[in-house]
Every structure is written in C-alpha cells, then in structure tokens.
C-alpha cells in the first residue's frame, strides 16, 4: 500500500508539470520541450536555497521566477528569431544543463536536514500522509488558480491564440506577447514541480529532469483521452482530469515495478506506455475510413 501512496505523492508532485505541458501543448499548441531543463532548473534552485535555510515562500517565488525565465527564453527565440519551437526548446534545455550544474556546484545535493514544505504543517503522525495533505492542498490551489485564469477574458485570449492565431490578431491581441506569457507560465509550473519533487525525495540531482517531458506528455495525453471519452468541456474538470492523468501515470509505473520489471528498463516501459496511450484511439480492428 505504501508503494502506491508513494506513487500518488509523486503523481501529485508532477501536477505542475502536467499543467505546464497542458498549457503549452494543448492550449497554445506549441511543442515545448524546455521542460527537461526547467524542471531541473526549479529543482536545483530549490535544492540550493533549501540547504541555505532560505524561507520557503521565497524559495517558491524564486523557483517560479526561474521557470518563467526559462520559458521566456524559449518563447523569445521562437517568436523573435522565428525558430521552430522544438529547436528553441532544445537549445534552452541544453543551455540549462550547464546552468543547473553551475548552480548545484556538483551533480547531487542531499537535503537531509533541510526543513521542507511538508514539515511546515503537521496534520498526521504518518509523515507520508502528512505530505499527501500538503501536496493535495497545493494542487488544489494550482487547479483553482489555473481554472480561474483560463476562464477570464485574458484566458479566452490565451486559448484562442493556440486555436486561431489569425483571428486573435485581428481582434487586437499581440500573439507573440501571448506566447511568451504562455510559455513562461508553463515552465514556471514545471519548475514548481521540480521544487516539490526535490523536497519529496530529499535530494536534488542534475539528471533528474532527463526524459521528464514524457511524464508530462503522458499525463496530458491520458487526461485528454479520458476527457474525449467522457466528452468533457468544462475547464476546471478538464484540468482535474489532466491531474488525474499525472497520478494514473505514476500508478502504472509503480505497477510495472511491482511486477518485477528491471528498473533500468523503466524509461523504455514509460515510452512504450505513452505510445500505447497515444495510439489506442487510433488503433482499430476495422478498416479505417480515411
């Protein structure tokens, strides 16, 4: 049982990542893979600051800022220099690896005695359960905030930017500016995920972001498939389903490990699982019409 609780906690830590990918991929229709870099950027920033006993609220603000900076860099390269967003993301991600290593000073930083977000309140004697409460509160806050923003006039303009750029420009929206804000928000959320994960696992590692984008993509795609099956259009419920996708994704990985698959094969299993999820709606036993 503890095994699945750990998976649930991980899934909740990834909710920022999932929402970030949802924002860039689904709302803005931009394949942004700055993610691997900005996740670690958030993680190492949090790790170093935690080890210096900086106040937690300040750490969270700085982490969000760091992520936003990474997203802005990608967005500027994409919009100003007209470079393909995938390439822009790869460039920033690559550059961030060095930045992260410089910040961390070494490849791994344990945080054994640091006071984390999960120690700030004590709602349960069981530390895992306590962590669950804190994470659940945090995720709920993110969910409410995001669903509010997406329903505002600004949010409608955001959603329309990825949907019909010509129209949005004709309606007086600077779409370049919109994309910069969008990617900044997406990567700030991703960095927050890294920050939470560092506190959950108790160490920061330079390689913890490698391939993390697939976790976000997997979560969003599971969520999207569910939303499509259930024909859901409400924004808050859609976001909730994306978060559920992040948790389901971790459960599947936990299950894979529990049946005794070699841990070194985990990334392969992850990739195959995401491929399955993506292709399931397209696989049909009948001949396709198109």
């Amino acid at each position: 049982m503890d095994f699945y609780l750990a998976a649930l906690l991980q899934g909740l830590c990834f909710s920022g990542l999932a929402l970030g990918i949802y924002l860039s991929m689904t709302i803005f229709n931009i394949p942004d893979i700055t993610t691997d870099g900005s996740y670690t950027f958030g993680a190492v920033t949090a790790g170093v600051l935690l080890s210096q006993q900086i106040p937690l609220y300040l750490i969270i603000i700085l982490v969000l800022f760091a992520g936003a900076l990474a997203g802005t860099a990608t967005a500027l390269i994409h919009t100003r220099l007209k470079i393909n967003p995938l390439l822009a993301g790869i460039l920033v991600m690559t550059a961030l690896y060095s930045v992260n290593l410089k910040i961390l000073g070494r490849s791994n930083l344990p945080l054994l005695n640091a006071k984390t977000l999960f120690d700030t309140v004590s709602l349960s004697a069981n530390s895992n359960v306590n962590t669950l409460y804190v994470l659940a509160g945090m995720v709920l806050l993110l969910l409410l905030l995001m669903s509010y923003v997406l329903r505002t006039d600004f949010g409608i303009a955001m959603r329309a930017t990825g949907n019909s750029e010509n129209m949005v420009r004709a309606l007086g929206v600077n779409t370049q500016y919109m994309k910069i804000i969008g990617l900044a928000m997406a990567n700030a959320l991703t960095a927050l995920s890294g920050c939470l994960m560092v506190q959950l696992q108790g160490f920061a590692d330079i390689n913890m972001g490698i391939g993390i984008v697939i976790t976000g993509l997997g979560s969003v795609i599971i969520g999207e498939s569910l939303a499509a099956v259930l024909a859901i259009r409400s924004i808050p419920i859609n976001l909730l389903i994306v978060l559920a996708g992040a948790v389901i994704f971790q459960f599947v990985l936990a299950f894979t490990l529990s049946i005794g698959i070699d841990a070194t094969l985990l990334k392969l299993v992850t990739a195959v699982f995401v491929l399955l999820i993506v292709s399931l709606p397209r696989l049909s036993f009948k001949q396709s019409d198109d």
Partner: protein, 249 residues
C-alpha cells in the same frame, strides 16, 4: 477614412523571386463608402486589403486612417478601427472555443483582455439577441463549440462579432468564396445590413461579379498591381452587370 499615399508593396525585394504586388498607389476611401475591389488573381486585391488590415506592411508610401499614420502599425493595433472577415470561414473564429467565448473576445477587440471573468448574464443576453437577428436558430446554442457549425454559419457569426465593439472599417476578403449560393447570399445581406446600420467604411474583395454589381457604392478594378478602373458612386448606379463582365473579356 482610409487614404493611401504612393503606397507600394514588393515581396522578396532584391531577390530573384521579387514580386511587385502593388505599384505606387494613391487611393482614398471616404467614411461610409462601401468599396468593391475586383480583378483577376495576382492583380493586387488581397495585397491592398492586407495593407489596410496591417497583416503585411507597405514597402514604401504612407497609409492614414482617420488622419493617423498607421503605415508601420501592426495588425493587432489597427484592430482599434478594423475588423476583418477572412475568405476561409475557419480563420475568422476559434473552433475549439464556444460561440460565447468567441463573442466575448470580439467584444474586447479595441480594449485589453483583463484577468477578470467578463461573460455576465447581461453579456450572454446581448450575444443571444444579436445572434437571433440572423434567424439561424443559433441563439440558444451559445455554449456550443464554434467548430461544430457550418462555414456559412461561422462566416455570418464572424460578421456579427465584428460589430460587438466600436468599428470603423470592415474588411471582407472574398467572404463567400467557400460558401454555397444560399449561405453566400445570407452572409452578403448580413454584411450589407451591418454596413448601413453602423455606417461602416467597407472594402469587399470578390471574384463574384454578381456580388460586385449588387453591393457597394464604388468599384475599382485592379490589374497587375494597379487600379485600372475606378467607378464612383453615381456612375456605379448606372453600371450594368454586362459592363462588369466585359471588363474581364
């Protein structure tokens, strides 16, 4: 009022594939004019329209709107005066947003989009009333996604969306080219009605000579990047439809 002073547009200037899309042009469209632009493909009609909307910028010359120099102003800033209906019905609306959200955005064309939820019940009623004027029965479906509607319905809604906020200039870029004759008629009648009702200055680019004959109070004929005929209001009324067909013989 829109005025072009020696406006020229050259694509790929200085390269082997250089195209002179618009030769230096002086053109003034008075307030309340409904100007129809005809011409064969590549004559510069769409370039002219895009220069007004700001989606492309002039190579030389100056463009004024209400005495403001807008030559270097990008499209999203010109939206203060200008709304546009695209040839492709899919471009003028956001398919994955509800009809209501599309109208909300259109209602904010000239102002900033703030971090507040703006679709009040009053606003929803206003949208429903406006849509009811089309007589398409869409007024009770404002929660439906725009993408589920037909091209004709979307084009008609795009027109209505343009007058949700202050509007001076309406650009119609072959708005009926992708529509069946019946939907085309509905769209053009709606456009004509709105242009009169809101006293708009309008530009209609069309290949449909029947439309060109039927609508507007001034017509220009473009060829090879220049205006080769300019028929003002009084003379346009005298014009017979066969005259128009002869221009293209």
């Amino acid at each position: 009022m829109i005025s072009f002073r020696q406006v020229e547009k050259i694509f790929n200037k200085g390269k082997p594939n250089e195209v002179v899309a618009l030769k230096p042009l002086d053109l003034t469209v008075a307030d309340g004019d409904f100007l129809v632009v005809v011409g064969s493909n590549g004559s510069g009609k769409s370039t002219l329209l895009n220069l007004v909307s700001g989606s492309i910028l002039a190579t030389k010359g100056t463009i004024y709107m209400d005495d403001v120099n807008v030559t270097r102003m990008p499209d999203y800033k010109r939206s203060r005066w200008v709304a546009r209906v695209f040839q492709n019905p899919l471009l003028g609306t956001a398919p994955d947003l509800s009809i209501l959200d599309n109208f909300r955005l259109a209602a904010l064309r000239t102002t900033s989009k703030k971090l507040v939820i703006g679709s009040s019940e009053k606003f929803r009623q206003q949208v429903r009333d406006k849509i009811a004027t089309l007589g398409m029965g869409l007024e009770n479906k404002t929660g439906q996604l725009m993408g589920t509607l037909s091209g004709g319905q979307r084009q008609a809604l795009t027109l209505l969306m343009s007058v949700m906020d202050d509007l001076k200039i309406l650009l119609l870029d072959e708005p009926t080219a992708a529509l069946d004759p019946r939907s085309a008629a509905v769209v053009m009648q709606t456009a004509d009605k709105l242009i009169r009702e809101y006293q708009l200055t309008a530009l209609l680019v069309t290949h449909n000579l029947k439309e060109a004959f039927q609508y507007g109070n001034r017509i220009i004929h473009m060829h090879d990047g220049s205006v080769i005929r300019d028929v003002p209001s009084a003379e346009k009324q005298q014009l017979r439809d066969t005259d128009l067909y002869q221009w293209f013989q």
